[in-house]
Symmetry: C2
Subunit: 168 residues, 2 copies
């Protein structure tokens, strides 16, 4: 998370400094309104600094028969960390977008026996610039993003998602 | 679904004919009790014939911002079809088990704009026999299972899961 904010060559201005258009609480409210399962999970957009997003969810709504996190909840956290990251980085650049996921995979590394966190980071150049350029030229762009699902500071699962963004 | 019921060489008797130990309604109740997200999704074990399992879930609880099924809900349906299949095939053989998922991947093929179904089938020999033998000899076995998430008769997503079963 120490890298510089990538400077795309197209697609509007990236955010500079602390002024961010998208607020975590507003993004959480949007998710809960539009995707009922995120509300049932208690999924919260806990932090967004323009370069990375962090989601949280309580174990008590997302456990399985073994009192560890349900695989589908872990998968959903990974999917949504990537989704929120792409949506928010485009919103910061005032690019109206609609997103789809085409592929999703999860490696479950260890059981999660406490509340869940998921983190995704804006990709570095040239990946981000190519994505934004494709959006500008072809009105759609594809981005593969990794997100990590954490528990008490340890990586418990790694999600990889292929997202498609369309201008909207 | 026209293949013969596989006859494992170990691990107790597979079911014969219509007498099944596990009833879909009881399996649904167990899921809802132990995994709250399955209840929030309205996930139902709709059918089990000893060779295949079918889960259903209403779109109205599982939609996204585009009024199609949320990727995390589709992933959860795929995961749980495989999970239920392994659990139920072991229960039919009176093998007490605990299951984990180690890997999960989904290819999203088309949007789902109506209620969801997910189907998984018992693997054919020698895969099933080797899994049951491993459980008997080593008290654990691994099985890769594919499940299909359907919408109005069309395959909308394909899930592949690597499940680990332990005697319990």
């Amino acid at each position: 998370m120490s890298q510089e904010t990538p400077q795309p060559s197209s697609g509007g201005s990236p955010h500079q400094g602390p002024e961010l258009r998208v607020k975590p609480a507003a993004m959480t409210a949007l998710l809960h309104e539009e995707i009922p399962l995120t509300r049932a999970m208690g999924m919260t957009v806990a932090a967004w600094d323009g370069r990375s997003v962090k989601l949280t969810a309580p174990l008590k709504l997302n456990h399985n028969h073994a009192d560890t996190a349900f695989g589908g909840a872990i998968s959903s956290m990974g999917i949504m960390a990537g989704y929120c990251l792409v949506h928010m980085l485009l919103e910061e650049r005032q690019i109206s977008n609609r997103l789809l996921i085409q592929k999703s995979s999860v490696d479950y590394l260890r059981p999660i026996d406490a509340d869940l966190e998921a983190v995704a980071c804006v990709p570095e150049e040239p990946v981000l610039g190519e994505f934004l350029q494709s959006l500008q030229k072809r009105r759609r762009g594809r981005l593969t993003l990794e997100s990590r699902v954490m528990c008490q500071g340890l990586v418990a699962a790694v999600h990889s998602g292929l997202y498609v963004a369309m201008l909207y």
